[in-house]
């Protein structure tokens, strides 16, 4: 997701557009949020993104105490399906759990499920559901947006539906009501089966059963989250009390990661609390199976979580756990106190004054100060964030790939990394960050070695490419262009200024580009980017985005025509060759069954992206948690969305944090 909270978009976009935007962002936010899973997609060869991981000797662990930290924004809601806030996910992940979880490197492990398996894969696509579809009409909102007029959650739309419908036209859709019929007839893309642990209790002492899982997934219907779930989920059903069958629309190598880890709630919530109301501000306590319970919440001030004394987990329940038997069966701190402090500098001040034990999201220079201090420890982890510069590929002369690559060769990534981010962010030599290396490449380092030359800073090579482009298209140098970004991120503005300066340099007496910088307030900028009018303005757009463990998001979000006017194909990029390559890498029986083939296909995708250069990837993020010396064992999760929950307890990496005051 974009660096700033996507829910902020609601003020400038219609709800429908917002939903679409969030759905587009979702590849990322979903992956970051709770453990997404992985079936055959376990992330083979995954490398631990945690730099200099600290480990804890179980004998030294001290129990008790309150771990204090701070987040940058008030949670929009505790009701997970209605939340579009990355910050709120930090709180959600303390309370809720899913059938599978993930390690810091993105490998998937059964969690509430004792085990899961991929039962079946079939070569099915949207057109195969036509026989089960119903006919509904299109309608129009007050602001002129056309939508399919049904209250039921749409699962699949017919490929024969009109591309530009008008109100009154008819659409063929498969809704949740008919999806079960298709499944019953054996029409589905993939079938996963989960066996739940017996005896797991929710915070309200209710026992977890398969119907709870089904009802919890049903809670997503027509929610803010529905777009990013029902683009893949076909149907879910319970088989007895402890077996869950999950069906996917078409063979999708990322399906289990996207769908397996969604939170599960007790029937007290699913039966009685309307969607959006599972929030203390609505008089309801959020309930899940998580290792903490919400003890106190003061809106705009703090949230206090108490350890779940009845936590169900035991390391002996998991075959995959290979740690010492003394490793705790849950977090050891008694409470987690999360204050809401919007300013990063205030959070840094709070850490120095001892008000909090951990903070994150600090500027590079402040992080460097902390790294050099003996009183604190910085815990860096390769992150899921990246910056990218998107070219107006539909506007002359930027339609020429060589010209775009010429501009790309003038982006001084190493200098950006070293001078602006003091090494905390890494040059994006390839579109795929190290975080997703396990699923998106066969050998990440070798791939970087092969492809790095596309993204190295070489003015001479840029001049050659620009001259070649001039031979193919009618262009006069210097090309005047505006480079835009959001103004509220100083380091990003400096990055853009450096790129503009670099692109505007004279090379062998010729100035190829004349770049001026224009900055806009974040929401204003994003609303313009997400409008359908941006693509033909001929401007370069520079912004940040966050992906996840699924490599697909790093390609699709910024290239797919499906993401046009959503996040984050602002320039109407539509490269048929790349579209097909992306599809071949994620969808289909072959890649769903063969992770190695999938990795190979993604490597082709990355090279194609670099060749076409519709986007120039700038840097890959590093997420850094900073703790004082009272905190032992803290390691930073690659996404802020689970930065607290992961640190407190995650046996997949034998991760646990305790306090030694």
């Amino acid at each position: 997701m974009t660096d700033n909270k996507p829910q902020g978009l609601s003020s400038v976009l219609s709800r429908r557009n917002l939903m679409q935007a969030v759905a587009g962002l979702g590849v990322a936010s979903m992956a970051g949020c709770s453990g997404l899973n992985g079936g055959g997609d376990g992330g083979g060869g995954a490398v631990d993104p945690v730099q200099d991981r600290v480990t804890v000797d179980p004998e030294n662990i001290q129990e008790g105490g309150t771990f204090k930290t701070a987040i940058g924004a008030n949670p929009d809601t505790f009701d997970f399906p209605e939340s579009s806030s990355a910050t709120a996910s930090i709180l959600h992940n303390l309370l809720f759990e899913g059938m599978v979880t993930t390690s810091a490197s993105g490998e998937l492990y059964p969690w509430l499920a004792e085990s899961y398996e991929q039962v079946d894969v079939q070569d099915v696509s949207a057109g195969d559901y036509t026989d089960y579809m119903t006919t509904v009409s299109y309608a129009e909102t007050d602001d002129g947006a056309v939508y399919i007029d049904t209250e039921k959650q749409i699962v699949v739309e017919s490929p024969d539906n009109p591309d530009s419908p008008s109100a009154g036209d008819e659409a063929q859709v498969l809704t949740v009501d008919e999806a079960g019929d298709a499944v019953a007839d054996g029409t589905y893309g993939m079938h996963f089966q989960f066996q739940l642990h017996e005896g797991i209790q929710f915070h309200n002492d209710e026992e977890l059963t398969a119907p709870n899982v089904v009802a919890s997934y049903g809670r997503i219907e027509n929610s803010t989250l529905s777009g990013q779930v029902f683009d893949s989920l076909l149907h879910i059903s319970a088989d007895g009390d402890y077996t869950v069958d999950l069906y996917v629309q078409e063979p999708d190598a990322a399906a289990i990661r996207e769908l397996g880890g969604l939170p599960v709630y007790p029937s007290e919530i699913t039966d009685n609390v309307p969607l959006g109301n599972m929030d203390p501000r609505q008089g309801n306590t959020p309930l899940g199976t998580g290792m903490f319970e919400l003890a106190e919440f003061q809106n705009e001030e703090y949230a206090l979580f108490a350890k779940n004394d009845n936590y169900w987990f035991d390391t002996e329940m998991k075959d995959w756990f290979d740690g010492p038997s003394e490793f705790p069966n849950g977090p050891v701190v008694d409470e987690v106190d999360i204050a809401i402090i919007s300013s990063d500098s205030q959070r840094a001040g709070a850490l120095q004054s001892g008000e909090i034990d951990m903070t994150f999201g600090l500027t590079a220079s402040t992080l460097t100060n902390y790294r050099e201090s003996e009183d604190y420890r910085t815990a860096p982890t390769n992150g899921a964030g990246y910056t990218f510069l998107q070219f107006p590929v539909e506007v002359e002369p930027w339609t020429n790939a060589k010209l775009r690559r010429a501009a790309n060769k003038l982006i001084p990534r190493q200098s950006i990394s070293e001078n602006i981010f003091q090494g905390w962010e890494k040059p994006a030599w390839v579109p795929l960050p190290p975080l997703a290396a396990g699923t998106g490449s066969t050998d990440y380092e070798a791939m970087v070695e092969d492809l790095k030359s596309y993204n190295t800073y070489e003015p001479e090579a840029a001049a050659e490419l620009a001259d070649e482009a001039a031979g193919e298209i009618d262009v006069e140098f210097p090309i005047e262009v505006t480079l835009e970004t959001n103004s509220d991120n100083d380091d990003r503005v400096r990055t853009v200024e450096l790129i503009a300066e670099s692109m505007s340099q004279e090379i062998n007496g010729t100035q190829y580009f004349d770049v001026s910088v224009n900055t806009k307030e974040f929401l204003t900028f994003v609303s313009q980017l997400l409008s359908q009018d941006y693509w033909d303005q001929g401007k370069l757009a520079f912004i940040g985005l966050s992906g996840g463990f699924n490599p697909h998001g790093y390609a699709k979000s910024v290239h797919s025509p499906e993401n046009f006017a959503q996040c984050c194909n602002f320039q109407n990029i539509d490269f048929p060759e790349l579209n097909e390559a992306m599809r071949q890498a994620r969808y289909g029986v072959e890649v769903a069954q063969d992770p190695q083939l999938r990795r190979e296909r993604y490597e082709e995708v990355w090279e194609l992206i670099l060749e076409l250069n519709g986007n120039s990837y700038g840097t890959h993020s590093t997420l850094v948690g900073v703790v004082n010396n009272d905190v032992k064992g803290f390691n930073t999760y690659p996404s802020t969305q689970d930065i607290v929950g992961y640190a407190m307890y995650n046996p997949t990496d034998q991760q646990i944090t305790y306090l030694d005051r």
């Binding site: 100083d490 200024e497 300066e501 910088v517």
Partner: protein, 346 residues
């Protein structure tokens, strides 16, 4: 009894005593070269005000340094070829091959004011920054004072319902806090030089209008105004040839003091990130770009040069303008002018 009937003779008045007595004052036609105009007198008084003249020298020096900091090119023609600043203010020095310049390098001989967060030479940026900061102050005051003068003069001269309507509109302008109104305008129009000029001009003229109206209400009662009207002079002529020149003094004082205020206002908006694009060499914007350095992590040292020099430039200019304003006030002070001895007075 006198034989010269019908003639009156005044006695007891010895004209010789009058013509032959010592002069009562030093004045004589030979000792004066004519009446000194109030403007010339004000200028003379201003010149003798050392503090005010120091302000003039400072402002003049800063303006000249800014103008000659980098070459000025208009429509491809270089109209000012000099270059006092050693670097282009937007050049990111660490991008140069082999450069050893970094971010926030402290002052050295090569970079007397150090470098900023992007590795740009602060000395060059402070010099060039004056072009925007200083000129915008003069432009805004020129526009606001001119418009306010005309507006207030019309209101004051015609009076009645014209005055009522015009001054109620002035009250509306005054109802908005000036800086907040400027902030709203910049938010609507976007940043940049002319949007900022508009942003400060829209609320800025009202003060001049109210001031000049008050002056004109008193000046227009003078006999020379009535005489001009009796002779058939047009209103425009009466206002701008007879009334306004005699009501200008407080406006000039106000204008000279306002330049500094505008510069501070522009810097304030720049500091809030609302004035110019972030990399623009404008003093307030430069301060904004270094705001993050004020809070450091443990053991971090604040790069003082990044804030002291742009902030010092703002301080120096505004202080100098205020010194000039006070000097103008002293030179044109109507109360004091009234106390000056008038030639021929008895």
């Amino acid at each position: 009894m006198s034989t010269e009937r019908g003639r009156i003779r005044v006695t007891g008045f010895d004209t010789d005593r009058v013509t032959e007595r010592d002069d009562l004052s030093d004045w004589s036609e030979a000792t004066t070269g004519g009446t000194e105009s109030r403007w010339r007198r004000a200028l003379r008084r201003f010149r003798h005000n050392r503090v005010a003249m120091l302000g003039v020298y400072v402002v003049a020096a800063m303006a000249l340094l800014s103008f000659f900091a980098r070459p000025v090119t208009i429509a491809g023609i270089t109209v000012q070829p000099f270059s006092i600043a050693p670097y282009d203010p937007s050049t990111i020095l660490y991008l140069e091959p082999g450069s050893t310049v970094g971010r926030y390098d402290p002052p050295t001989l090569a970079h007397p004011m150090g470098t900023d967060a992007s590795g740009r030479d602060l000395f060059s940026r402070v010099l060039v920054g004056g072009r925007l900061s200083i000129s915008i102050g003069f432009v805004v005051v020129g526009i606001t004072a001119t418009f306010g003068l005309a507006y207030g003069a019309v209101a004051g001269y015609y009076g009645g319902w014209v005055d009522e309507i015009l001054m109620r509109f002035v009250d509306v302008i005054f109802a908005f806090p000036g800086l907040v109104l400027a902030l709203v305008i910049v938010a609507l129009l976007g940043g940049g030089y002319w949007p900022l000029v508009i942003a400060f001009s829209v609320p800025g003229w009202a003060g001049y209008a109210r001031l000049i109206r008050g002056e004109i209400l008193s000046v227009k009662e003078n006999e020379y105004v009535l005489a001009a009207q009796a002779l058939g002079a047009r209103d425009r002529s009466v206002i701008f040839r007879h009334i306004v020149p005699n009501a200008m003094a407080p406006l000039i004082v106000q204008a000279s003091l306002s330049i500094g205020t505008v510069v501070i206002g522009v810097a304030a908006l720049g500091f809030l990130g609302l004035g110019f694009e972030p990399g623009t060499p404008e003093w307030g914007t430069m301060l904004d770009q270094t705001r993050e350095t004020l809070i450091q992590g443990p053991g971090g040292s604040i790069p003082w040069w990044a804030t002291v020099f742009p902030g010092g430039a703002i301080f120096l200019f505004v202080m100098a303008m205020n010194m000039i304003g006070d000097g103008v006030n002293d030179a044109l002070d109507a109360q004091e002018v009234g106390n000056v001895g008038q030639g021929g007075g008895g």
